[in-house]
Protein backbone atom coordinates (compact mmCIF):
# COMPACT_ATOMS: atom_id res chain seq x y z
CA UNK A 1 0.00 0.00 0.00
CA UNK A 2 2.92 2.31 0.73
CA UNK A 3 3.98 2.31 -2.89
CA UNK A 4 1.77 4.50 -5.09
CA UNK A 5 1.37 6.95 -2.22
CA UNK A 6 2.93 10.21 -1.09
CA UNK A 7 3.36 11.63 2.37
CA UNK A 8 1.34 14.84 2.63
CA UNK A 9 1.60 15.66 6.32
CA UNK A 10 2.61 14.42 9.77
CA UNK A 11 0.59 14.28 12.97
CA UNK A 12 2.47 13.62 16.24
CA UNK A 13 5.18 11.91 14.23
CA UNK A 14 2.68 9.76 12.32
CA UNK A 15 3.03 10.11 8.52
CA UNK A 16 -0.22 10.91 6.71
CA UNK A 17 -0.12 9.46 3.21
CA UNK A 18 -2.35 9.91 0.18
CA UNK A 19 -2.71 6.91 -2.14
CA UNK A 20 -2.96 7.21 -5.93
CA UNK A 21 -6.41 5.55 -5.84
CA UNK A 22 -7.86 8.41 -3.76
CA UNK A 23 -9.28 10.42 -6.72
CA UNK A 24 -11.18 7.34 -7.93
CA UNK A 25 -12.82 6.94 -4.52
CA UNK A 26 -13.59 10.65 -4.33
CA UNK A 27 -15.22 10.56 -7.77
CA UNK A 28 -17.34 7.58 -6.73
CA UNK A 29 -18.38 8.92 -3.32
CA UNK A 30 -18.40 12.72 -3.83
CA UNK A 31 -18.84 13.30 -7.54
CA UNK A 32 -16.94 16.16 -9.14
CA UNK A 33 -17.66 18.91 -6.63
CA UNK A 34 -14.49 20.38 -5.03
CA UNK A 35 -16.43 21.01 -1.79
CA UNK A 36 -17.56 17.39 -1.82
CA UNK A 37 -13.96 16.24 -2.32
CA UNK A 38 -12.66 18.44 0.47
CA UNK A 39 -15.43 17.42 2.87
CA UNK A 40 -15.03 13.72 2.10
CA UNK A 41 -11.25 13.83 2.47
CA UNK A 42 -11.70 15.80 5.70
CA UNK A 43 -14.13 13.20 7.09
CA UNK A 44 -11.85 10.27 6.22
CA UNK A 45 -8.83 12.08 7.69
CA UNK A 46 -10.78 12.88 10.87
CA UNK A 47 -11.85 9.23 11.11
CA UNK A 48 -8.31 7.88 10.74
CA UNK A 49 -6.87 10.46 13.14
CA UNK A 50 -9.55 9.38 15.64
CA UNK A 51 -8.16 5.83 15.43
CA UNK A 52 -4.58 7.16 15.79
CA UNK A 53 -5.52 9.27 18.85
CA UNK A 54 -7.03 6.24 20.64
CA UNK A 55 -4.01 4.10 19.69
CA UNK A 56 -1.80 6.69 21.42
CA UNK A 57 -4.17 6.89 24.40
CA UNK A 58 -4.05 3.12 25.05
CA UNK A 59 -0.27 2.91 24.77
CA UNK A 60 0.05 1.69 21.17
CA UNK A 61 2.09 3.30 18.40
CA UNK A 62 0.37 4.54 15.26
CA UNK A 63 2.74 3.97 12.36
CA UNK A 64 0.83 5.33 9.38
CA UNK A 65 -2.41 7.04 8.34
CA UNK A 66 -3.33 6.35 4.74
CA UNK A 67 -6.15 7.87 2.70
CA UNK A 68 -7.09 5.79 -0.34
CA UNK A 69 -9.86 5.07 -2.83
CA UNK A 70 -11.87 2.90 -0.43
CA UNK A 71 -11.57 5.31 2.50
CA UNK A 72 -8.49 4.97 4.63
CA UNK A 73 -6.67 2.99 7.25
CA UNK A 74 -4.58 3.61 10.34
CA UNK A 75 -1.70 1.18 10.80
CA UNK A 76 -0.45 0.70 14.36
CA UNK A 77 1.67 -1.59 16.49
CA UNK A 78 1.77 -2.52 20.15
CA UNK A 79 0.48 -5.09 22.60
CA UNK A 80 -2.89 -3.89 23.89
CA UNK A 81 -5.78 -5.41 25.82
CA UNK A 82 -8.93 -6.63 24.01
CA UNK A 83 -10.86 -3.63 25.43
CA UNK A 84 -8.21 -1.24 24.08
CA UNK A 85 -8.35 -2.96 20.67
CA UNK A 86 -12.13 -2.49 20.55
CA UNK A 87 -11.74 1.13 21.71
CA UNK A 88 -9.31 1.74 18.82
CA UNK A 89 -11.99 0.43 16.44
CA UNK A 90 -14.41 3.00 17.93
CA UNK A 91 -11.86 5.83 17.65
CA UNK A 92 -12.67 6.75 14.04
CA UNK A 93 -16.43 6.69 14.50
CA UNK A 94 -16.10 8.56 17.81
CA UNK A 95 -14.22 11.43 16.10
CA UNK A 96 -16.97 11.60 13.46
CA UNK A 97 -19.66 11.49 16.15
CA UNK A 98 -18.04 14.47 17.91
CA UNK A 99 -18.24 16.44 14.65
CA UNK A 100 -21.83 15.33 14.05
CA UNK A 101 -22.95 16.16 17.58
CA UNK A 102 -21.26 19.56 17.32
CA UNK A 103 -23.12 20.30 14.07
CA UNK A 104 -26.42 19.08 15.54
CA UNK A 105 -25.95 21.20 18.67
CA UNK A 106 -25.42 24.33 16.54
CA UNK A 107 -28.48 23.37 14.48
CA UNK A 108 -30.61 22.74 17.59
CA UNK A 109 -29.82 26.21 18.94
CA UNK A 110 -30.66 27.82 15.57
CA UNK A 111 -27.06 28.92 15.11
CA UNK A 112 -26.79 27.56 11.56
CA UNK A 113 -27.87 30.11 8.92
CA UNK A 114 -30.69 28.82 6.72
CA UNK A 115 -28.70 29.24 3.49
CA UNK A 116 -25.83 27.18 5.00
CA UNK A 117 -28.29 24.40 5.85
CA UNK A 118 -28.95 24.06 2.11
CA UNK A 119 -25.25 24.09 1.18
CA UNK A 120 -23.27 21.03 0.12
CA UNK A 121 -20.81 21.47 2.98
CA UNK A 122 -23.63 21.14 5.55
CA UNK A 123 -24.99 18.11 3.71
CA UNK A 124 -21.55 16.43 3.81
CA UNK A 125 -20.94 17.46 7.41
CA UNK A 126 -24.20 15.98 8.65
CA UNK A 127 -25.68 13.47 6.21
CA UNK A 128 -22.54 12.04 4.54
CA UNK A 129 -20.93 11.94 7.98
CA UNK A 130 -23.89 10.03 9.46
CA UNK A 131 -23.95 7.68 6.47
CA UNK A 132 -20.23 6.96 6.91
CA UNK A 133 -20.72 6.35 10.65
CA UNK A 134 -23.53 3.90 9.96
CA UNK A 135 -21.53 2.10 7.27
CA UNK A 136 -18.45 1.81 9.45
CA UNK A 137 -20.43 0.27 12.30
CA UNK A 138 -21.75 -2.61 10.20
CA UNK A 139 -20.26 -5.67 11.96
CA UNK A 140 -18.53 -7.09 8.89
CA UNK A 141 -14.76 -7.21 8.41
CA UNK A 142 -12.84 -5.09 7.32
CA UNK A 143 -15.27 -2.42 8.62
CA UNK A 144 -14.72 -1.08 12.15
CA UNK A 145 -17.99 -2.61 13.36
CA UNK A 146 -16.43 -6.10 13.17
CA UNK A 147 -14.29 -5.25 16.22
CA UNK A 148 -16.05 -2.21 17.65
CA UNK A 149 -19.17 -3.99 18.96
CA UNK A 150 -17.09 -6.11 21.32
CA UNK A 151 -16.39 -2.92 23.34
CA UNK A 152 -19.79 -2.60 25.08
CA UNK A 153 -19.78 -6.38 25.73
CA UNK A 154 -16.29 -6.28 27.27
CA UNK A 155 -17.18 -3.17 29.29
CA UNK A 156 -20.25 -4.99 30.59
CA UNK A 157 -18.10 -7.99 31.59
CA UNK A 158 -15.60 -5.69 33.29
CA UNK A 159 -18.35 -3.88 35.19
CA UNK A 160 -19.67 -7.24 36.39
CA UNK A 161 -16.18 -8.44 37.34
CA UNK A 162 -15.60 -5.17 39.20
CA UNK A 163 -18.63 -5.90 41.31
CA UNK A 164 -17.47 -9.49 41.86
CA UNK A 165 -13.98 -8.27 42.88
CA UNK A 166 -15.40 -5.93 45.49
CA UNK A 167 -17.50 -8.77 46.95
CA UNK A 168 -14.47 -11.14 46.89
CA UNK A 169 -12.46 -8.50 48.76
CA UNK A 170 -15.09 -8.60 51.48
CA UNK A 171 -14.89 -12.39 51.44
CA UNK A 172 -11.09 -12.23 51.75
CA UNK A 173 -11.40 -9.82 54.66
CA UNK A 174 -13.88 -12.16 56.35
CA UNK A 175 -11.48 -15.08 55.84
CA UNK A 176 -8.59 -13.08 57.31
CA UNK A 177 -10.64 -12.23 60.41
CA UNK A 178 -11.66 -15.90 60.75
CA UNK A 179 -8.00 -17.03 60.43
CA UNK A 180 -6.93 -14.49 63.06
CA UNK A 181 -9.66 -15.68 65.45
CA UNK A 182 -8.64 -19.31 64.84
CA UNK A 183 -4.99 -18.51 65.55
CA UNK A 184 -5.96 -16.63 68.72
CA UNK A 185 -8.04 -19.62 69.80
CA UNK A 186 -5.12 -22.01 69.13
CA UNK A 187 -2.75 -19.81 71.09
CA UNK A 188 -5.26 -19.80 73.93
CA UNK A 189 -5.30 -23.63 73.90
CA UNK A 190 -1.51 -23.77 74.11
Amino acid sequence: MKSWSVQVAKWRGVPIRLHASTPVGLLLFAGTSPIGWAAFLGLILLHELGHAAVVLAVGGRPTEVMLHGFGGHCAWSGDVTPIARAAIAWGGVAAQLVLLMGALTFWAFDLVPLEFQYSELWYRLVFSNAWLIGLNLVPISPLDGAEAWSLPYLLGQRARRGRAVSSSVTEAEARAVAARLLNDARRGDE
Partner: protein, 85 residues
Protein backbone atom coordinates in the same frame (compact mmCIF):
# COMPACT_ATOMS: atom_id res chain seq x y z
CA UNK B 1 -32.67 15.34 9.80
CA UNK B 2 -34.84 12.61 11.33
CA UNK B 3 -32.75 9.88 9.61
CA UNK B 4 -29.66 11.16 11.46
CA UNK B 5 -31.47 11.01 14.80
CA UNK B 6 -32.74 7.50 14.01
CA UNK B 7 -29.15 6.40 13.29
CA UNK B 8 -27.91 7.93 16.56
CA UNK B 9 -30.75 6.24 18.47
CA UNK B 10 -29.95 2.86 16.86
CA UNK B 11 -26.26 3.19 17.80
CA UNK B 12 -27.10 4.18 21.40
CA UNK B 13 -29.67 1.41 21.86
CA UNK B 14 -27.39 -1.26 20.34
CA UNK B 15 -24.44 -0.13 22.49
CA UNK B 16 -26.58 -0.24 25.64
CA UNK B 17 -28.10 -3.62 24.74
CA UNK B 18 -24.69 -5.23 24.08
CA UNK B 19 -23.36 -3.73 27.35
CA UNK B 20 -26.31 -5.22 29.26
CA UNK B 21 -25.72 -8.64 27.63
CA UNK B 22 -22.03 -8.43 28.65
CA UNK B 23 -23.03 -7.48 32.18
CA UNK B 24 -25.65 -10.21 32.45
CA UNK B 25 -23.44 -13.05 31.19
CA UNK B 26 -21.22 -14.68 33.76
CA UNK B 27 -17.52 -14.04 33.01
CA UNK B 28 -15.27 -17.13 32.89
CA UNK B 29 -14.17 -18.27 36.38
CA UNK B 30 -10.48 -17.27 36.59
CA UNK B 31 -9.75 -19.48 39.62
CA UNK B 32 -11.25 -22.52 37.89
CA UNK B 33 -9.27 -21.78 34.71
CA UNK B 34 -5.99 -21.39 36.61
CA UNK B 35 -6.57 -24.55 38.67
CA UNK B 36 -7.23 -26.54 35.49
CA UNK B 37 -4.13 -25.04 33.88
CA UNK B 38 -2.05 -25.94 36.95
CA UNK B 39 -3.37 -29.52 36.90
CA UNK B 40 -2.52 -29.84 33.22
CA UNK B 41 0.97 -28.41 33.63
CA UNK B 42 1.82 -30.40 36.77
CA UNK B 43 0.55 -33.62 35.11
CA UNK B 44 -0.93 -34.91 38.34
CA UNK B 45 -4.30 -36.53 38.86
CA UNK B 46 -6.99 -34.02 39.84
CA UNK B 47 -6.97 -34.76 43.59
CA UNK B 48 -3.18 -34.81 43.81
CA UNK B 49 -2.89 -31.58 41.80
CA UNK B 50 -5.38 -29.87 44.16
CA UNK B 51 -3.42 -31.00 47.21
CA UNK B 52 -0.12 -29.85 45.73
CA UNK B 53 -1.66 -26.56 44.70
CA UNK B 54 -2.91 -25.97 48.24
CA UNK B 55 0.54 -26.64 49.67
CA UNK B 56 2.27 -24.41 47.17
CA UNK B 57 -0.22 -21.56 47.65
CA UNK B 58 0.33 -21.81 51.40
CA UNK B 59 4.12 -21.69 50.96
CA UNK B 60 3.81 -18.80 48.54
CA UNK B 61 1.51 -16.86 50.85
CA UNK B 62 4.22 -17.02 53.52
CA UNK B 63 6.79 -15.72 51.03
CA UNK B 64 4.50 -12.99 49.63
CA UNK B 65 1.89 -12.25 52.28
CA UNK B 66 -1.26 -10.22 51.63
CA UNK B 67 -1.81 -11.12 47.95
CA UNK B 68 -5.06 -12.41 46.48
CA UNK B 69 -5.70 -16.10 45.83
CA UNK B 70 -5.75 -15.45 42.06
CA UNK B 71 -2.37 -13.70 42.33
CA UNK B 72 -0.82 -16.84 43.92
CA UNK B 73 -2.43 -19.08 41.31
CA UNK B 74 -1.19 -16.88 38.46
CA UNK B 75 2.29 -16.86 39.98
CA UNK B 76 2.38 -20.68 40.22
CA UNK B 77 1.01 -21.23 36.72
CA UNK B 78 3.46 -18.71 35.21
CA UNK B 79 6.29 -20.37 37.13
CA UNK B 80 5.32 -23.79 35.79
CA UNK B 81 4.95 -22.47 32.26
CA UNK B 82 8.39 -20.88 32.47
CA UNK B 83 9.86 -24.15 33.75
CA UNK B 84 8.28 -26.09 30.87
CA UNK B 85 9.82 -23.78 28.24
Amino acid sequence: MSSVFVLLAVITITFTAVFVVGFARKPPDRVKQLKARFAKLSRHARGRADAELMERVEALSERFPGKSYVWYLEWLVTDLERAKR
